[in-house]
Symmetry: C2
Subunit: 207 residues, 2 copies
Amino acid sequence: MEQIPEPARERLLTLLGIFEQHPGEMLKSGGIEALTGWARETIRKDLSCLNGEAAGSAGGYRAQVLIPALKRALGLDSPRRYCIVGLGRLGSALLNEESFARGEFELAAGFDTNVNRVEILGGKTPLYPSYKMSEVISRLGIAIAILCVPREAAQSAAEKLAAAGIQGILNFTPRTLTLPAAVTVRNLYVADGLRSLAVAMGRREKD
Amino acid sequence: MEQIPEPARERLLTLLGIFEQHPGEMLKSGGIEALTGWARETIRKDLSCLNGEAAGSAGGYRAQVLIPALKRALGLDSPRRYCIVGLGRLGSALLNEESFARGEFELAAGFDTNVNRVEILGGKTPLYPSYKMSEVISRLGIAIAILCVPREAAQSAAEKLAAAGIQGILNFTPRTLTLPAAVTVRNLYVADGLRSLAVAMGRREKD
């Protein structure tokens, strides 16, 4: 896995999504080129990183074979546990979106500083008051946190998560987090998504 | 604006976020280099796209001056109207996150096929049954839709939005949308965020 360079890994992740949208089909590199805009030589080279069994034939790449091979190559073949920190409207909505885990991620816990909220919210996921975060994360081996707390609580909650051994944070807050290099962060603040979309739209209007 | 190439625009958007995190401060290109990992020459070159008033002095770039200049350069200075389509748990959570609009976006409407849901959900935003989508979008001049419908409804809802004149879609569904080139799409499916985070974490573990 470590031999695959980062841009190729990101393309492989996109290819995984494409094969999943076409289960049971054969896809040719030319067809993938049309979907992604990447040169078919790049696509062939990226997919040649996979084990021989996943190599394409003259007929193309078989989605059914490529999907598990890509998951293995990208380290998505063994499920990781995650938790949701902050159970306001957005956090509790995500609590109930378990369907999105696709067997790659397992929602193991939810946390909120408000003990009443923890007691009132129902559902299948065990919920805890935030002061139990460190103990629960370490006991359950939780690797990832989805951060949905208010902006002003984000940095301190993230620091507690880092101290508890969390390796990755999906950050839904507007706050840019400053954390030790051992913690990987992806920012998913909705307003930034709107901005990025608007900037791309602006460009398109000029085309 | 059209002279700024796409990678520079994306960096300028990130710089805008950084200046906003440091309002009232002077930032030097070396400090920004430390935050972003981009060479200071690149940062200086990107920011030189802005009008002269925003040029840095020996003391650095003044956040207070750069923020409005960057918003203007990126076309974020006049607010655009958006709507939320699909008012299940996630959609209705986003309905109440108006605070994220930062004056650049104005939430103008929410839509759901379920008329009861439209009637029951309260709040400041006017809600409509989906069959009124085309009329309302055109009457209110809504440019952007946040798509939160179930996966199986995503493509047809997106096509209706495109036909109604929507220019951009923030897609929270797992479905990859196939739309006319005039519609810009950004995918924000949460499970893809988890995947991308996990793939980055996997790489880091090997470092």
